[in-house]
Amino acid sequence: MNKKIAGPLAWFFLGATLLFLYILPAHSAVEVMTVLGEEAPPGFDPVTGKRVIPTVRCLKCHGDESEQTDVDDDGNEIEIYIPPHKFEDSVHGKRRCAECHANITRVPHRQEPEVVVGCIECHRQTWDANKDKPDNEFKRLGVVIEQIEKYQDSVHARPEDEDDPSVLNAGCYDCHDAHNIGTLGSHQRDEHRLENPEVCGECHRKQRNKYKKSVHGKAVMEDGDSEAAVCSDCHTMHEIDSPEGDKVMLQITTNCGNCHEESRQTYRSSYHGQVNKLGYTHTAKCYDCHGGHNVLAIKDPASAVHEENRLETCRQCHEDAPEGFIGFHPHGNANDFEKYPVMWITAKFMQALIIGILAFFWVHVMLWFYREYQDRKAGKSFAHPKPGDDTVYIRRFTATWRWIHLLFAVSTMILVLSGTTLLFSHTAWASFVMDMLGGPKVEAILHRTAATIWLSVFLVHFFIAMTNIVRNRKTFRWFGPSSMVPNLQDLRDVGAMFSWFFGRRERPSFDRFSYWQKFDYWAPFWGAAVIGFSGLMLFIPTLTASFLPGWVFNIATIVHAEEALLATMFLFTVHFFNSHFRPDRFPMSTIMFTGAVPLEEFKFEHRLEYERLKESGELEKMLVKPPSRTMEKGSQALAAVLIFAGLGLLTLVFIGYMTMPG
């Protein structure tokens, strides 16, 4: 043989043999099984050669209504009846029994049969094989698969005994009546809802017995109302877990609201609910007050929240709650005038206040921006000093006032952050911030600490201001230029400013404090009173309720939140614009941090004061050297940090406000 072609030829021969004998047959379509040339007879699967047991064969015994029991190998009577019409009507009605009961290979049973059905496996396989089909026939199976996954993480899917992983707490058909599963909206569904308490109660007897007496239980088990809450409505169907875990406690609280929607919403606008919404469970949840399995209607004298029993219920957590607590509306709703008129009026008043003030000042801001921008372009403004210039500065704020401002700013921001986290507990950022802060308990301490600093600063300032006034009582003029008290000139100044905005006159001149600076000053005064007082009431509820009715908490909560929102929005828009963002100042002013203003700027902004001081000869004494480079840089950095923090907070508040439910 020619050696050259013998090699390749031999290889070709081997390749062809393997291909035709082994590779191709393996790839050809499903092969029919034969035994010694004999194919499987009818009634047997031609591919697997296994018996195909038709459903009628099973129903011969299991579908005989007149003989519903049989005896097992020990002689005990057992139920074997499967109502055929129910099964045929069910979602599995077209399946053969042995498709699920795959361990049954012979009929009649040659050994005592065991019920082992691989529900999960079969549903998964069917889903995997069909999920990409364009028609929606298998869409619902996707839901089943989701539920399976939830089930597998649930307490029911864990072994009853750690040492024996084969016995689970509950398998699919411990709960599902597998021969009678209905499609969505089918009559079987209603039947199952009514049976649900008994199905769960099979294992959870104690809970079932309590539930039976509850308002839900009576409706379901006595009146046959399939709409009333059954076990799975609160506990979910597959995500079941021990109610000791946070996840379940939160879930159940949420689920109550699936029916009691308004109550869930009003709950979530209360402190209890805000904390809960953020994922913490130490505050009161639905069932802490209303009862869980044994929940009763509020008007039922045995209900835990019936007026007679309510205080005792409050005292489960608020140990020394005084009588006043009874008057609190845990589900108070400021939108419901009929039921909560005072809350409604308070909320409307606060909202009007917010809208009024912000509307005025936002218009003020926009007009001012426009006019100042025009003026600046036209060169009708002062020039900012360049580094290295030996500009003359004038002292405007002493160190004390600067410290007070800084402490005020920082504590305000902490208050805003910690407060709005609760107020906007519905947002994703709030949960994130709350976790960062370390939870509502830390947040509470933070908020109260910042509030204490804030109030202390306020009081210290008040004290200093008063001392100054008293010390200079001979010369102090209440309506004079160094006083913060608004006067008639301020009113005229407002008019003059607007005239300037519309280009009808030149920019007005101001003395030491302009009207908007006075407003910036007085706003926290009113804020301190309102926010501080309402906050204090909520801080020490037991004391408050010992001499005030409980509904003041509802009012205090509204006032506290709305006023704080107003302050936040005002400070981080109007105040920021007036002091930092307007064209003459952009991007920031450091006067409040260095305490000194370039004389040029001072002359421009406070010409009246400048002239007055010059005339009296005081000006000379107030002139100072430019702030040191370190001071200037430091102040800029500090101002930048505060401004960015403020804008950040503003964004969060804005998101919260816009997405507020209800």
Partner: protein
């Protein structure tokens, strides 16, 4: 030996299983050897051997395996069964299952048949469906009566293991009708031949 030869031998070796298979007789061929006693294609023409045409293949296999290990009382089959491998038995089972059962009329007593009908419906029908026609519990309807008689005797005398739960029903039938019960049932099964079965299936 050259490398080419190695490869060619390898290819021939790959062919080997196919040729080995071709040498074994088919199930159909094996089954012809049974015709002498069980009739052509398993429909027995005389009462000495039971009909095995249309027999449920799993019951067939059970029977042959039991004969093979002397678990089931037999006159001849235990010796015959031992000659066949598991695969051959399965092949024959599938072959016979597909054969049409041809039944010959047997003489029966009308009264006994009547009694047998009621007894069957009450005690036997759930397992031996449709009056005992060939199915997953074997063939009773139209089976040669002497064979059935011998089978029942074996059960009752303990020479053959009762299928699970059958004993309860047999005992109950005997308890209800005494000595008459078994003959009645056997007459009932014997009374069914091809035309009788057709009538039953039309109902």
């Amino acid at each position: 030996m050259s490398r080419e030869r190695h490869i060619i031998i390898l290819a021939l070796l790959a062919l080997l299983p196919i040729t080995a298979l071709a040498e074994s007789p088919t199930a159909a061929a094996l089954s012809y050897t049974c015709a002498g006693c069980h009739g052509t294609d398993g429909s027995s023409v005389g009462p000495s051997s039971p009909s095995i045409a249309g027999m449920d293949p799993e019951i067939f296999i059970d029977a042959m395996q039991d004969y093979k290990v002397d678990k089931r009382n037999a006159t001849i089959m235990n010796r015959i069964a031992k000659a066949y491998s598991d695969e051959q038995i399965k092949g024959m089972a599938w072959y016979f299952a597909k054969q049409k059962l041809e039944l010959l009329p047997q003489s029966t007593d009308t009264q006994l048949v009547e009694l047998g009908t009621t007894l069957h419906d009450k005690y036997c029908e759930k397992c031996h469906e449709e009056g005992g026609r060939s199915g997953d519990t074997g063939t009773l309807a139209g089976q040669w009566m002497p064979y059935l008689d011998y089978a029942m005797e074996d059960f009752i005398a303990g020479r053959r293991d009762y299928p699970r739960k059958m004993k309860r029903k047999v005992d109950a039938a005997i308890k209800a009708e005494g000595e008459q019960a078994m003959p009645a049932l056997i007459h009932y099964y014997g009374s069914q031949h091809n035309s009788a079965q057709k009538e039953a299936s039309h109902e």
